[in-house]
């Protein structure tokens, strides 16, 4: 009888909702482990950009190293180790920053700069078109702040900003 009851209750609840791993941007401290702990050769964690939150600054601390010698695209000035952020002049004084996910390794250096000194429009997310969906995510096991959590598979991103636009 008890087994029948449990089965009926489960049937009423419907099929179990599939969940996936995702990074909570509010808990992420940009420790850098996402870049090195993923089972993939290049991490499935990528930086994403909420354009609606961005200040479009000429000196973006997600793009430039602190005390960069010059404010141009020279490698010595850039925060990103792989040049995965493209900078485009829009109009004085605005510049647009776009992430090239094919180059991004998920190190979070840009996210740290943007979080510390900018609007926090850059943040890390697991890209599910790249992720191989390990049930025991190698990054989640080492994440120092438990920023990795399960989210519904039909809404697998934790967007930053009130409306979550522009991600």
């Amino acid at each position: 009888m008890a087994v029948c009851g449990a089965t009926l209750a489960a049937a009423r609840r419907g099929p179990a909702r599939r969940t996936l791993w995702q990074i909570d941007p509010a808990a992420c401290v940009q420790c850098g482990l996402c870049a090195t702990s993923c089972v993939l050769p290049v991490s499935a964690v990528k930086c994403v950009h909420n354009f609606a939150m961005c200040g479009y600054c000429r000196l973006c601390f997600g793009y430039f190293e602190a005390d960069a010698p010059a404010l141009n695209a020279g490698a010595e000035n850039q925060m990103c180790p792989t040049g995965a952020i493209q900078r485009r002049f829009v109009e004085d004084p605005y510049h647009e920053y776009t992430i090239r996910e094919d180059l991004c390794i998920g190190c979070g250096r840009c996210v740290k700069g943007c979080t510390d000194f900018g609007n926090g429009s850059l943040y890390l997310q697991v890209r599910h078109d790249v992720c191989v969906h390990c049930e025991e995510c190698a990054i989640a096991t080492v994440c120092p702040t438990q920023a990795f959590r399960r989210v519904p598979a039909d809404d697998p991103y934790l967007r930053k900003g009130a409306a979550g636009e522009g991600t």
Binding site: D67, G83, P93
Partner: protein
């Protein structure tokens, strides 16, 4: 090989195998082949990630544009009066400019302040809406002066409000095209009994009559003196010294003294090294009895003589403090010692001056890591031999904590406020024996602070749903003026409000 040879007692040039390796063709060829093979092996290993060439592209920087409609002169200035001038009434004390009467963010209080606040916070006398920005107010004889930006009419607007009730008495404005760039306005006017001087976001300097608001003179530091508008606009607040306004265009001239009545330049300091305008402001210091104006530019720090025929001439300059973004002002911490700090990874530095026969020598005596003591926007408070500041967000576990440093003491700070007490970028004012600190979201804290630590006396949200509350506060006779990005509120901190 030479190291091994030496240990065995051979000479520097003598090989134990009697082979002169570098001149032996066979050995050289073998070494080259080995290196080539190693290179091929390395090349054949697939890269874990893609790379891209990153070279300077000047086009990405964008051109420096002077909008042809931007002007600050008598022809385009517009004056509007809404009500009679405010009376000093119960609030006669001045807060005449950036960081108060003594430009140190410290002021005694002539009235007793409430020991604690109700849950909803100290009573709010009035609130007014401002354009998006961080400009702080100055107060003189019951009138509040704030340089606002009117986004609809595209004008910098110097507003005169009543301290008692917030009503607007008059406004003087000029046209300038400002786009939102982490806010628009961000300076504090300088007020004398006679005049009000302001610097706008794009380096326009305006002087008006304090009582009538009549336009007196205007300067465009970009057009007239080759200044470069700093990133996120001008944050430099004018310094009035007697009849002179001291400005730092850091363009063709590094510093200027302008006659407050006529607008004529009295002296100027050349800028041969091409230093640029920072977000810092000019401060007055005295070195061995000689008054000086000190400015931390982008490029370095300079002191110029303030008095006599030598006024405007360089006393000393140093490149020891040179960072991409500099907002706090230099702080004199003893006779010939200067403390300087910034955010964005810069940390802090102590500079010591020594008088030599040829003038002043400047040496850096201590550098302090950003995780120990730094400040992104606010100038540290210097109180009884100790420095207080709120650490920037890149200070690791102590980010946004209030910390206390003994600059002549140990390497670390004396204390930090702890993770339960963080204060954003930390706009603050020290009144009597209390420290008032505002966080980014409009929560005001009243603290008792000393060498041993701090005690939280009261805390309340005074700007509900506040955003970017970074503007410097002003304190006058028990009233505290604080702002966030779009609101200015006047709080009554007095114990007896009758």
């Amino acid at each position: 090989m030479p190291f091994a040879a030496n240990r065995r007692g051979f000479g520097q040039d003598e090989c134990p195998l009697r082979i002169r390796c570098l001149t032996c063709p066979a050995a050289t060829l073998a070494a080259a082949l080995l290196a080539a093979r190693a290179m091929l092996c390395w090349q054949s290993v697939p890269l874990r990630c893609r790379t891209t060439a990153r070279v300077p592209e000047e086009a990405a920087a964008g051109p420096a544009i002077i909008d042809p409609t931007d002007h600050c002169n008598r022809v385009v200035a517009e004056f509007e009066r809404s009500s009679p001038n405010p009376e000093p009434g119960l609030f006669p004390s001045p807060w005449p400019g950036f960081r108060g009467p003594h430009r140190n963010n410290r002021v005694p209080t002539p009235v007793a302040l409430a020991e604690t606040w109700p849950t909803e916070g100290p009573p709010r006398l009035w609130q007014t809406t401002l354009g998006d920005g961080h400009a702080g107010p100055a107060v003189f004889e019951g009138a509040v002066y704030v340089l606002d930006y009117d986004e609809e009419r595209r004008r910098d607007v110097l507003r005169c409000l009543s301290l008692a009730d917030g009503r607007e008495a008059w406004r003087q404005s000029y046209p300038v095209q400002i786009k939102r760039n982490h806010g628009m306005s961000r300076t504090v006017p300088a007020v004398t009994p006679d005049a009000v001087v302001s610097i706008g976001p794009k380096c326009h300097v305006m002087c008006v009559d304090r009582l009538t608001g009549a336009f007196r003179w205007g300067l465009d530091l970009v057009r007239d003196y080759g200044a470069t508008v700093p990133l996120w606009y001008t944050a430099q607040c004018p310094l009035v010294d007697g009849d002179l306004v001291i400005l730092a265009p850091a363009g063709r001239d590094l510093l200027l003294a302008v006659d407050c009545r006529s607008g004529q330049v009295v002296w100027r300091t050349p800028n041969p090294d091409g230093w640029q305008m920072s977000h810092s402001s000019v401060v007055e210091m005295v070195f061995d009895g000689q008054r000086a104006f000190v400015y931390a530019a982008l490029g370095g720090m300079v002191a110029v003589a303030a008095d006599g025929p030598e006024a405007g001439s360089v006393l000393w300059q140093t490149r020891a403090w040179n960072h991409r973004v500099v907002a706090p002002c230099p702080v004199q911490i003893g006779g010939e010692t200067i403390f300087m700090t910034s955010g964005h990874g810069a940390g802090s530095m102590i500079l010591r001056l020594t008088k030599e026969s040829g003038g002043w020598e400047v040496t850096s005596t201590r550098t302090i890591d950003k995780t120990v003591f730094a400040s992104e926007q606010q100038t540290p408070l210097w109180v009884e031999g100790l420095l207080y500041a709120v650490l920037p967000k890149d200070a690791g576990t102590r980010r946004e904590e209030l910390v206390c440093l003994d600059p002549g003491g140990s390497e670390d700070v004396l204390w930090g406020s702890g993770r339960e007490h963080r204060f954003g970028l930390g706009p603050c004012v020290w009144v009597g024996d209390r420290l008032f600190l505002l966080d980014d979201h409009g929560t005001l804290s009243m603290l008792a602070v000393n060498r041993e630590g701090f005690r939280l006396l009261a805390r309340a949200t005074v700007l509900p749903d506040g955003r970017d509350a970074w503007g410097p506060p002003a304190f006058v006779d028990g009233l505290l003026l604080v702002r966030d990005s779009t609101r200015l509120v006047c709080l009554d901190l007095r114990q007896d409000r009758t």
